[in-house]
């Protein structure tokens, strides 16, 4: 069984598709593109697709991943690039396949291996308050040893410490224009183990509760002292990974 990994981005109107919607869109795209995907057994066979960490409805991403298993007995395109090429015209506007590769046998699933996700969001002052103040709040959060938040998990109100899962956080003027007056760009990285912090939970901790359009820029795998993406972009230089880490 060959497993193919695809990387795609999701921008524009399609950011309002839910994770579940996206799965159905991909299923239909695979049938239209005649990709010889394997199907599960049983009464209602489903194509064997494996998505990574769900992206919240309304968020954009430059780093979404999808693994699909090919059926050795079916005919059709099998090369990773050819699969990406066949699938692209079957995707809705705003979904762009940016990389593809065959995985080594035994490669663990996306859900298991991704250890952190990186985010970027541009905040207008009317929802973020004074950006200089926002930078101060970010500094305070980073300086704190713990930061408990009230969240609802499985219908229950629980308190959790957000701080250990906040791996990086910075506030910059959007477009590098000083001083920060109208819009501030927030970038941050959140751990996914043992559970994911939601980007909205971090924003709430910074005093921003309005829903905004968040961009997932990376998903990272930290393993054996190395940090790398599940699938890098093809034109990224070999040094890019090292720089990013």
């Amino acid at each position: 069984m060959t497993r193919i990994r695809l990387r795609y981005s999701k921008h524009g109107k399609v950011r309002f598709l839910s994770h579940r919607d996206m799965a159905k869109v991909v299923e239909r795209a695979i049938r239209r593109a005649k990709v010889p995907v394997a199907y599960s057994e049983g009464f209602s066979p489903r194509p064997k697709l494996h998505f990574g960490l769900a992206l919240s409805t309304g968020y954009e991403s430059g780093a979404e991943y999808l693994d699909l298993d090919l059926d050795p007995d079916r005919v059709g395109v099998r090369e990773p690039e050819a699969i990406a090429e066949a699938l692209q015209p079957c995707m809705p506007a705003g979904v762009v396949i940016t990389a593809s590769a065959a995985l080594e046998p035994g490669e663990p699933s996306l859900q298991d291996v991704v250890t952190s996700t990186a985010w970027q969001v541009d905040l207008a002052t009317d929802i973020a308050g004074d950006p200089a103040d926002l930078a101060g709040r970010a500094d305070n959060l980073l300086a704190a040893a713990t930061h408990e938040i009230e969240i609802v998990r499985k219908g229950k109100q629980v308190r959790e410490d957000l701080r250990p899962l906040l791996l990086a956080l910075s506030v910059e003027p959007t477009g590098g224009v000083e001083p920060i007056t109208e819009r501030a760009r927030l970038t941050f990285e959140l751990g996914t183990k043992p559970r994911s912090v939601r980007p909205a939970e971090l924003l709430a901790a910074l005093g921003v509760s309005e829903p905004v359009c968040m961009l997932r820029t990376h998903q990272w795998i930290q393993r054996d002292g190395r940090r790398f993406e599940p699938l890098g972009l093809p034109d990224a230089s070999p040094h890019a990974e090292a720089r990013a880490s």
Partner: protein
């Protein structure tokens, strides 16, 4: 109109979407939704906004709107986009931010279009129509609109009695829309080319188009100004307006292989599958069924065209399910061949075919068995009434034996649950008839025990609403109290049987549907009152509000009795008498008398014409490939109606069966 055409309003809408449920229903982007070319006709095409007055999930799959969307966008002088009712959360955001109703295609404001064209399939959506017109920034009453406002028009089954909406609709289309939308486009294009010489000039021109009814071109008088008044007369006030407005009928479905590229939404909708219409019209003659009466005659699509549309459609859309749609798909002449070809072409065995309406006989089950992939959970039949007497009254001539054979066949072929649809509150219905539903369900359970330990039967009961242009249009519907009593009677009768689950519609919603369905122009202020008091999405049980309707009727000095509960007399002028669905009024009256006499009427596809009027007046006829009725069962016209009244053999069997099941 063109002054506000300007630019899409996506940027105003986008910030609202993260705050609402299911935002994907507002983004469009469907596969198959070709982008309208607004540079047509020198940059001023006739712009249609096709609207469905319910949520995206309900409205997107509507095949009628998709057909018109394609036909209009293919024209060199027209563009068409689509819009749906925003759910209450987005509506509140839109009103708060001053964002108007929009199209989901290019997100243009509704007021940028020349026509707001609604599909009306259910009476309980009427207040949504007003709400959407208001959200568009257009005056809800036609009389308040000027030449700068879009026309507000409607089509669909409910427009066979558009009188309750006469204050709000500029024009109404009766019948098939495929041809008439082009004629309307030409009239509007001509009016625009002449510099928009006033709104009345446009309406007068539209009144001359066959199949188009302009309510403001008619004057209605009543016998008095009291609540119990009836209509005295309906007369055209403009010379252009015909005395009788005829419906439109396309003669041959083969010439209209639409939609050519059915839309595939990106988010979940009802009927989320490929739909191919195999025929239009039905002559089974079920007397309660408005759809079967107003869409006559039967026009089948050639079997090879059906197969081509299915094959190409599955390939193009990526769907793994196709529905062959019609009012009674097992009656399609080519059904066995078509299903055989689809199944044969599905080499990987992943395509499932669904027949939205299954005929109640073993043949229907065999077809279902051929196509049902995966787990066989439930199969649905619609006997509609619990006794043979009652079924003769409604002309749904299913013998009990055939139901039992069908059910036996279903359970024996692996289905675990049978769902049975019934109506209650039918003309001349007695408690014996109502309780007959329980008896049928119990017998089905006994039959199921031959094959299964725990067979399940779901009984779904709807309150009957008499509709215009049916033989029951004169019948006074059961009151809410009476329907409630019958439902309780039935519920108590099946309660002891653990295999039977019972579901029913809210009789209060049935009442409102009945008032709106057969009402007249006096209901305009009632609908407006109910809408202004917030009664939108009335077909959603969580939003339905009877008190809003009661208050609205009372405020206008009107009663439910007048529109819904009373029986009407032969000579009474009905609110829709100046419209023609093809059926002669004297034919309908005769059929009403036959119903009360418990006399059935055969299907005229395979038996001599009884001149209902649907064909003869229009120079059209049935397009049916098979000269002989379908195989098997009482629903073919080979039925022997005389035996229907006999006690079916199977009924006597269950006791023995039950004993055997208990012993094993």
């Amino acid at each position: 109109m063109s002054s506000v055409r300007a630019e899409p309003i996506w940027e105003q809408l986008e910030p609202l979407l993260p705050r609402v449920q299911k935002p994907a229903r507002y983004i469009g982007c469907e596969l198959g939704a070709v982008e309208a070319d607004w540079s047509k006709a020198g940059g001023d095409p006739v712009a249609w906004l096709l609207l469905y007055p319910d949520t995206y999930e309900i409205g997107l799959p509507n095949q009628g709107l998709q057909i018109l969307f394609e036909i209009l966008n293919e024209r060199p002088d027209a563009v068409a986009e689509r819009g749906y009712a925003p759910w209450t959360d987005l509506e509140a955001e839109m009103r708060g931010a001053g964002v108007p109703l929009f199209s989901v295609d290019t997100h243009r404001a509704a007021a940028a279009f020349d026509l707001l064209a609604f599909n009306l399939s259910a009476e309980l959506t009427f207040t949504n129509l007003l709400n959407m017109v208001d959200l568009a920034g257009v005056p809800v009453r036609g009389a308040d609109r000027t030449a700068e406002h879009p026309l507000v028009i409607a089509g669909g089954h409910c427009t066979y009695n558009p009188e309750p909406l006469a204050d709000f609709l500029d024009a109404v289309v009766l019948g098939d829309g495929e041809e008439v939308v082009s004629e309307i486009t030409e009239v509007v294009a001509g009016w625009k080319a002449h510099g928009r010489p006033g709104r009345e000039a446009l309406l007068r021109a539209l009144a001359t188009v066959e199949g188009v009814y302009v309510p403001s071109a008619y004057e209605v008088t009543y016998t008095s100004d009291t609540a119990d008044a009836v209509i005295e007369s309906v007369r055209p006030v403009w010379p252009e307006a015909p005395e009788l407005v005829e419906k439109r009928t396309i003669a041959d479905l083969a010439e209209w292989p639409y939609p050519r590229s059915q839309m595939v939404p990106l988010t979940e909708v009802v009927h989320d599958r490929l739909n191919v219409e195999v025929f239009r019209g039905c002559t089974r003659g079920c007397r309660f069924c408005q759809a079967g009466m107003i869409t006559r005659p039967v026009r089948e699509r050639p079997a090879e065209q059906v197969v081509a549309m299915v094959t190409e459609g599955l390939e193009r859309t990526g769907y793994d399910e196709v529905a062959l749609t019609s009012l009674s798909t097992a009656d399609f002449s080519g059904i066995a061949d078509v299903v055989g070809e689809i199944v044969a072409g599905d080499t990987e065995g992943r395509i499932s075919v669904s027949l939205p309406s299954l005929r109640v006989d073993a043949f229907g089950v065999d077809i279902a068995a051929q196509i049902q992939k995966g787990r066989r959970t439930g199969l649905t039949f619609a006997p509609e009434a619990g006794t043979w007497r009652m079924r003769q009254v409604i002309n749904k001539l299913i013998r009990e034996e055939d139901l039992y054979r069908a059910v036996d066949s279903a359970y024996s072929q692996g289905w675990r649950r049978v769902k049975l649809y019934f109506l209650t509150g039918l003309p001349s219905e007695t408690d014996e008839d109502t309780l007959g539903i329980a008896r049928l369900a119990e017998n089905c359970i006994e039959i199921g025990r031959r094959h299964l330990r725990n067979p399940s039967v779901t009984v779904s009961v709807g309150g009957f609403v008499p509709k215009p242009f049916t033989p029951f249009q004169w019948f006074g519907q059961n009151t809410v109290v009476e329907l409630q009593r019958k439902i309780h009677l039935l519920r108590d009768a099946v309660r002891h049987n653990r295999g039977i689950q019972m579901k029913w519609h809210d009789p209060r919603a049935t009442l409102v549907e009945g008032i709106l369905g057969r009402g007249d122009r006096r209901l305009g202020p009632v609908i407006e009152h109910a809408w202004r008091s917030g009664a939108t999405f009335q077909e959603w049980s969580e939003c339905f509000d009877l008190s809003a309707w009661e208050a609205a009727l009372e405020a206008n000095g009107l009663t439910p009795e007048q529109f819904a509960y009373r029986h009407r007399r032969e000579g009474e002028v009905l609110p829709w008498d100046h419209l023609n669905a093809g059926l002669h009024k004297d034919f309908l009256w005769q059929d009403w008398q036959d119903a009360l006499a418990e006399v059935g009427l055969p299907d005229c596809r395979w038996t001599p014409c009884y001149d209902c009027g649907a064909c003869t007046g229009y120079g059209i006829e049935h397009v049916v490939a098979s000269a002989v009725p379908p195989a098997g069962g009482s629903q073919g016209t080979g039925q022997d109606l005389d035996t229907g009244g006999l006690l079916p053999e199977v009924v006597a069997v269950p006791v023995e069966l039950g004993a055997r099941a208990g012993a094993s």
